[in-house]
């Protein structure tokens, strides 16, 4: 299913629930929504098979995103206003580590963890202080 091109790239992580639909349109993807007690899970699936999970709290904010699939997701699209912070974290990792390794950005306001290889990338990003009560990072998959 195709959607219109050129929609504004609203923030995803940290944004409101409308950003989920912007992400879906940008990635030309399908969307499945599952409501839970602590949060609503929006699953965006692209035609290539990349899956992005966007976790939306009861107050309508995206507090976490997770992904897996054959390519890296469009980070600017799904991280929104956190994109620059992510980019700075990548720079810091690269400066410290010679060789290939998983990425583990652990900052007060942002956690990004990325692993895998071409054809099988996996990762997640979340804002620790935005996690709803009772939600742990282990649930962000």
């Amino acid at each position: 299913m195709a959607f219109g091109l050129g929609l504004p790239a609203f923030a995803a992580l940290g944004g409101d629930v409308s950003s989920v639909h912007a992400d879906q349109a940008n990635m030309k993807a399908s969307l499945k929504t599952t409501a839970g007690q602590a949060y609503t899970l929006h699953e965006i699936k692209t035609p290539m098979g990349m899956i992005v999970h966007e976790f939306v709290s009861a107050d309508g904010r995206v507090f976490a995103v997770a992904w897996h699939g054959p390519s890296m997701p469009p980070m600017q699209q799904i991280l929104g206003t956190y994109f620059q912070q992510f980019s700075a974290g990548v720079q810091a990792h690269h400066a410290a580590h010679v060789g290939r390794s998983p990425l583990n950005i652990q900052q007060a306001g942002l956690v990004v963890q990325s692993s895998g290889h071409p054809r099988g990338y996996f990762g997640r990003a979340y804002v620790p202080e935005m996690l709803p009560q009772g939600v742990t990072p282990d649930q962000i998959r």
């Binding site: 469009p74 290939r100 990325s114 071409p118 099988g120 998959r141």
Partner: protein
């Protein structure tokens, strides 16, 4: 509407300077030279970058030639990576002139690859004959990283993705990457014009013309995707060999702790010669994302849990989640336990084959300091994979012959369909 651009013309890029054959990059630190038969030497020697040690990098020489000719260049310091697919070489390491770049009209075909660590490679898709030992991959599409050296267009955001452009030897840590993982091409059917996708997926292939915005493009993967046209995707060169084309073996000697360097072999083919028989090795078949399952300290890490596990010579340590092991304060991507840890994990293939892996993790700061800071090979180097599963990097390979079979390739009788790992 399907945006399908048939790439049929190949023209000389003509931007490379130099004088024909010769050795690219700096003088190799290690010993690998041209191999014989189906065996190319590997050196874990710190890599080609002056004054920098690349820990646990498996490096080889690769020879590229203008297609159909004997005009060639041997390039040292190429990282052997079973986690990716296709040959990618820095343009700055290539002195050979006359490689053919893929074009469509006045647009050049570019290739992009993202790595999970946030870095990426961008460069033209060009055609070369690729030689290693006595094996030849004719007219292989390779990625020439950062070619042209000065981009005349902006790298698409979905390629750069907020990451690091490893467009030079210091950033990349090597002169190139030889992707000999369990797939024949870097994208496959999803990027193929007949693959059923309405839009070309990103970030893989782009057509770029001077003064315009790059456009995502489909590129044929040839016969393996049911096309009558030839493959033009960046290709695992092994898949193009006339024989010994169904996979590779990485063979490294046993190592205890650290060493200045280690020498091993990249052996082509599985079950095709006397030196590449599976024998008593255990075969672990892979899921659709080329991963398997590992259980460690009672927790199972696999793609069903979105914590996949895999074997990858291009990762330079054992990377796995264990919050009880302290990370180093200077480099948080490595573990720094207070004493040597003896650990165990259990691998499980999709064919239900199981195997126990016993491994040790030492203090990375101490490992790097030993040997006067000159060591490049470490069997006990580990680090966290905080959000994921097990990533068995190069230390896993010491003391083993590790087989990687290529998806879709013919495998020895009695073995399961590829892709699989065996050791």
């Amino acid at each position: 509407m399907r945006r399908f651009l048939l790439l049929i013309s190949v023209v000389s890029l003509g931007l490379l300077v130099g004088c024909g054959s010769g050795s690219g990059g700096s003088t190799p630190k290690g010993v690998p030279t041209g191999g014989t038969g189906n065996t190319q030497p590997i050196a874990v020697d710190g890599g080609p970058v002056a004054n920098t040690i690349y820990p646990n990098g498996a490096f080889i020489d690769v020879t590229i030639c203008n297609p159909g000719t004997t005009t060639c260049q041997t390039i040292n310091g190429i990282l052997v990576d079973t986690g990716s697919f296709g040959l990618r070489i820095l343009s700055s390491a290539i002195t050979l002139t006359g490689l053919k770049t893929l074009t469509s009209g006045n647009s050049t075909l570019y290739n992009c690859i993202n790595f999970a660590d946030g870095s990426y490679l961008w460069g033209a898709a060009e055609v070369a004959d690729v030689q290693m030992a006595s094996e030849l991959a004719s007219s292989a599409t390779i990625q020439v990283i950062a070619d042209p050296a000065a981009n005349t267009f902006t790298i698409p955001t979905n390629c750069s993705n907020g990451g690091i452009d490893e467009d030079n030897q210091v950033a990349l840590g090597t002169n190139g990457i030889l992707g000999v993982g369990p797939e024949p091409v870097d994208c496959g059917l999803a990027c193929d014009p007949n693959g059923g996708n309405q839009f070309p997926p990103e970030p893989f292939y782009y057509l770029c013309a001077s003064g315009t915005t790059c456009t995502p493009s489909f590129v044929s993967c040839g016969a393996i995707c049911g096309d009558t046209s030839a493959n033009q995707q960046v290709v695992n060169p092994v898949a193009l060999f006339a024989t010994d084309n169904n996979g590779v073996i990485i063979k490294l000697p046993t190592l205890s702790g650290g060493a200045a360097s280690e020498s091993g072999s990249l052996i082509f083919g599985i079950g095709t010669q006397t030196n590449n028989q599976v024998g008593s090795a255990t075969i672990f078949t892979l899921d659709s994302q080329d991963t398997f399952s590992v259980t460690y300290k009672g927790v199972t890490y696999n793609s069903s849990n979105n914590t996949p596990s895999f074997i990858d010579s291009g990762s330079n340590a054992f990377f796995f989640p264990d919050t009880t092991i302290p990370t180093c304060t200077d480099v948080t991507s490595f573990y720094c336990p207070t004493s040597l840890l003896s650990l165990s994990a259990t691998n499980l293939g999709t064919n239900n084959a199981t195997g126990t892996v016993n491994f040790s993790i030492d203090n990375a700061d101490n490992l790097f300091a030993e040997g006067g800071g000159a060591d490049a090979a470490f069997s006990t180097l580990g680090g966290p994979n905080a959000g994921g599963g097990f990533d068995y990097g190069l230390p896993f390979f010491y003391g083993k012959s590790v087989f990687t079979s290529i998806d879709g390739a013919a495998v020895p009788s009695g073995t399961p369909a590829a892709p699989w790992w065996a050791y």
